[in-house]
Structures are given as structure tokens and as C-alpha cells.
Amino acid sequence: MNTLPEILAARKNIIVDKWAEAILSTYPHESLKFLSSQKDRFANPIGHAVRSSSEKLFDELVHGNDVEKIRASLDDFLRMRAVQDFAPSEAVGFVFMLKRVLREITAQEMTGKGQASFQDELLNFESRIDSMALVAIDLYMEAREKLSRIRIDEVKARSLLALSERQS
């Protein structure tokens, strides 16, 4: 019987892949092939961000749990989600997809021998994912607020111009 940390280490690649795949599936179906197969980070920034953030985040959840690093990895990605076609819940919801992936991957361990202690471990790990979701909500809001601020600045600049024109 494997413990959760062992499983996470051994199956890291498949978990990260599945998670990244699940995140990409929130984009329009028709664009999926492009987002997941074009590897050039400049030709496909979304796909690149999904891939690199999902791996970094997973590593941080398993090993470090350093909030600052998690923030940094989430940041780029949430900035993207904040201007794309997502409701706030959808924009942030990708974090929870990791839970589903984990449950799928560990289906055997969940029901096998020693399931009680395994489930405990998993629940523990899942609360880390929940905390990460809270960080994601913060970042999403920061991005949205930044957008509003940029918009207000533009409107201000425009009305100043109109004003100076009227006075001249």
C-alpha cells in the first residue's frame, strides 16, 4: 500500500498532464488541439501558461506550500482568465479540477486496504488545494480591479482632454 506522498511523486506526470488537460478543456472545444499541441510559448501563450503553471503549482503543493511561490505561479494564469470568456467561478474553478483528477488517479487506494488513513491524507492535501483556490480568488479580484483602474484612468485622461479643449 502506497502513501499519498509516494503516489503523488510517482504519478506526478500523469496528474499534471490530466490537470492541464482539464484546464485546457475549459477553452472552446474547437481550439483545444491548437492550445494543447502548439508548444511555442510565443505562438501559444495560453497553452504555455497552463502547462508551466500547472506543474509549478503541483510541485509547490506537494513539497513547498510557499504561498508567495503559489501566488507567482497563479498570477500569470489568472490574469489571462480574468480577461477571457469566463464567469468568475469558471475563471477560478480550474483549481478544483485537481481534486477530481486526484480522486480519479487514486480510486484504487481510496477503497483498498488502509483506506481510512489514505483518505485522511487525501483530505489534508485537498485542503491545501482549497487554500490555493482562495489565493486564486484574491488574484482574480486583483486582476479585475487592475482592469477597472486602467479603465478609469483612460476615461479620466479622456475627460481631461475634453476639458482642456473646452477651456482653450
Binding site: S25, P28, L35, F42, P45, A87, S89, E90, L147, R151
Partner: protein, 536 residues
Amino acid sequence: MSESKLKPEELAETIKYKTPNRNWMDQKVEMKPGRFSHSGVPKSVEYLQLPNPRKWQPTDPDWQLPENWKEIILEGLRDRLNRFRSLRVFMDICVRCGACADKCHYFIGSGDPKNMPVMRAELLRSVYRHDFTLAGKILGKFAGARELTIDVLKEWFYYFYQCTQCRRCSVFCPYGIDTAEITLLVRELMNLVGVNIDWIVTPVANSFRTGNHLGIQPHGFKDSIDFAVDELESITGIKVEAPINKKGAEILFITPSADYFGTPHYYTLLGYLALFHEIGLDYTWSTYASEGGNFGSFISHDLMKSLNAKMYAEAKRLGVKWILGGECGHMWRIVHQYMDTLNGPADFLEEPVSPVTGTKFENTTSTKMVHICEFTADLIKNGKITLDKSRNDNWKVTFHDSCNPARALGLIEEPRYIIKNACNHFYEMPENTIKEQTFCCGSGAGLGTDENLEMRMRGGMPRANAVKYVKEKHGVNYLGCICAIDKATLPPLMEYWVGGVEVGGVHELVGNALVMKGEKERTTNLRGEPLDGKME
């Protein structure tokens, strides 16, 4: 904020796979705030004598179109098919190979499949097939044909005001199909029934009346030039001449109006003033032709012509020898590819020769208008100006090729030559994001308005992503460009995606580095920021 909210039963769906695998013709467009621009105000529409002025918004269920709107558009399409070979050929020869699909910055930044250039064109092509081809008439949907309905028109509005006419897709198309051409013509069609956006219509009305998009009247223009002259004096200690509407000057200088009212455009203006003084150029500004840009080109070929006419008319009235044009993007597409055709021949002008170096600008012998980067590069090459690169040492510079100078003119090396001679630190962005493959700022072709901000951030993301890369790799903090729309819309883009990168013109760098006879020791750059080690 996004207005779409989840229904409880959808909650589980957000973390499941989506499969909206439907035929694209059946999907209706949803207008969400932040992703479209407001409609043209009636006052401006009326002033330009465009059809169907009224109060409306794209979110209204009823767009208050004329009763026969459909016939008007189809008749307009027939007329344009007969007048534009480009349109006819582009409608017929696309094989949907998909080479363009992932080249559009809006598609890359959003993943919205209707932002693939081929789909954008199919939005029109489907209607063309339905009403103008035999196969479409007989086979209908199976031949990719569909009827023009109000929903189709709404889709046109959404997606053709989501194309910045940057022409990146056209570079990769094996037949050179140019989405910018299709977008421009569909916008013409939409304007026939009064479907337009205010960020374009009002600047055009302004420009028609006052000579510039911002609506600055002649005395306001003079004030801002005078103000710039004073500001330059406080930085350099030299009071430069800036003649306005001067008859008999050798050269007429035209630049986008944002240069004398916008930031950071303004620092480029200071650069021009310093440069022209230093070489003793006999030139004039004009209040009547006080706009290089041409938002008319975002509505129709006719309005493009009508705004552009001021350039030659003013050159003729003032009796100059030739015209010099400032840093601008779409202005240069029109000057280079349209002006001579629309409002030429310019037989009242002389073939441009640099009064400083004697260089004849062989590439402008017919249109008789020279790009400031061509002009300045020639000055530098001939050693006619002295540049102190160290004055730009606080900048680590990268250069964003603006779409039109790159893909309409091929103005690629001139600005780079100037930058390399004006500063010590220059770094290129990755190859597939510059030169003819440059990514748009995401706000061109009249889409740079605040209500459209989210869409702009999406569209500009590929550009920002490349800037971020060179920022992290080389510490780049100055994004140079030669386009007024870039200068207006890249700063918010940088603020949102990158942070810590300023945007500025090439001639701002020139102005910083330019050693002027009799100047006081410079302690600041043109932005008024201390030069390293000069203030402390």
C-alpha cells in the same frame, strides 16, 4: 465585471469537460460588457452624413435598422464585388487550409474559434455564397451558405470590430488572402445601415471638422505646440522655432494628433522639435492637416479619402516642396498604399530631397512623402547629427514593429538603425513576434476604447507575452514603437500583463541623445526624469 453567472446545476459543469461541438452557423453571438465598443453617437453620424443616425446600443434587441437593411447590404456587397477584385478573389479561393487559424492575436489570446481569420472571413463568405454563387443557392448550408439575418449582422458587428486589420494572417496565407481588406469592406457594408462604433465615428467627425481626431481647434493646436517649445527649452536651454501654417516652407510636417496631446506621444514630439531645430529644417506644421492618422479608413474607403485629402490640399496651399510624416501606423499604410491613388497625382510637389544631406528619397518620387525614420536614418548615416547614446543608458530598449509600417511598407531596418545609434542597450524580441511577423497591440483599427478593454487585453496578450520574456531575460524597460495607437494602448497593456515597462517613440530616444549646439547640460531626459548620475 462579467455578467454571466452560473446556474446551480452548472456548478458541477465548470469542473467537467465542455463539449459545445456545434456547427458554427448555429452559434449566436453574446455581447458582453468589456468586449465590444459603444455605437456611434447620432451627432457625429449626422455630421458625416452617414446613413441612419439614431440612439442605439449593440446590446439592444432592436437595432432600429432601416426596413430594407438586408437589401441595402446585399446591394452594397454586389457593388463592392464589382469594384474590388481583392474581395471577389478572396471570397472564392480560400481552401480553409487553416494556416492562418492560429496567427491572429485575438485567437491566440482568447481561444475563441471565430477569431481564426478564416472564420472571420467565412462570416461574410457564407452570405456571399448564399446570394452570389450557384452552389450556395442550390446546396445551401452544405455548401457553406447561409442567409443574412439580424443575428448574422450582430455577429459581423462583434467580430469585424474585433479585427485590428493588422494583416498578420495575410503573411501566412498561401494565397495572400487579406482579412484587413475583408474587415474594411464589411465595415463599409455595416455603415450603410448605420452600424458603427463611436470610437471611430466621433474621431472621424472631429477630424473632418477641425483637422484632427481629438477635435483640437487651431488655437488649441498652437497652444500645445507653444507649450512643448517651452518645455523643451526648460530641458535643453534652447528655444526652438515651430512655425505653423507657414507659406513657402520647404517641408510640411504631419504627425498624428496624439503626439501633441497624448502621453507618452508627447516626448516624441519634443524629440521632433529638437531634431528639426538642430538640423535647421525649413518646415511648417499645419492646423488644417493636423492629423496623420485616418480613422476614416476604419469606416470606408470614401471617408479614408475624404480625410486624407487634407494632406495634399494643405501641401499645395502652403506651397511646400514635399511632405514629411511622423511616427504612426495606419497613417503610413494609407500614405504608402492609398494616398497617391486616392488624392494624387502630387504633381505640384517636388521629388523629396533631404535639404541636410542631399539624399534623394528614391522610393517616394511619386507620392512625395517621406517617413521620419527614413529621414532620420539618412541624417545619422551621413553624420549630420551627433547622438550621445549614454543619455539613454537608463533605458533597456526593445522594439515593437507596428503592424502597418512592417507589413505595408517593409519599414524594418530604418527604425532599428536609429535605435542602435541612439542608445546602448537594445534587445530584440523573439523572431516570430517581430518584423513581418509582428504581433498587434490589440487595439488598432479603432478598437482602443476603454469600454472594449478586456478584448484589448486579450488581443494584446501575445505581444505583452513577448515583451515580458525580454524583460525577464534582459531587464528591458522601454518598449519602442512608431505608432500613435501603440503609444496610447501599449502602456495599459504593459501595466496589466508585464509591469515596469515604459512605452515610447523612436524619436523620443533620438531627442534624448541628440547633442544640440548651445544646449545646457542635460540633467533629465525628455520625460523630465533625472539622467543617471546627473542629479544625485
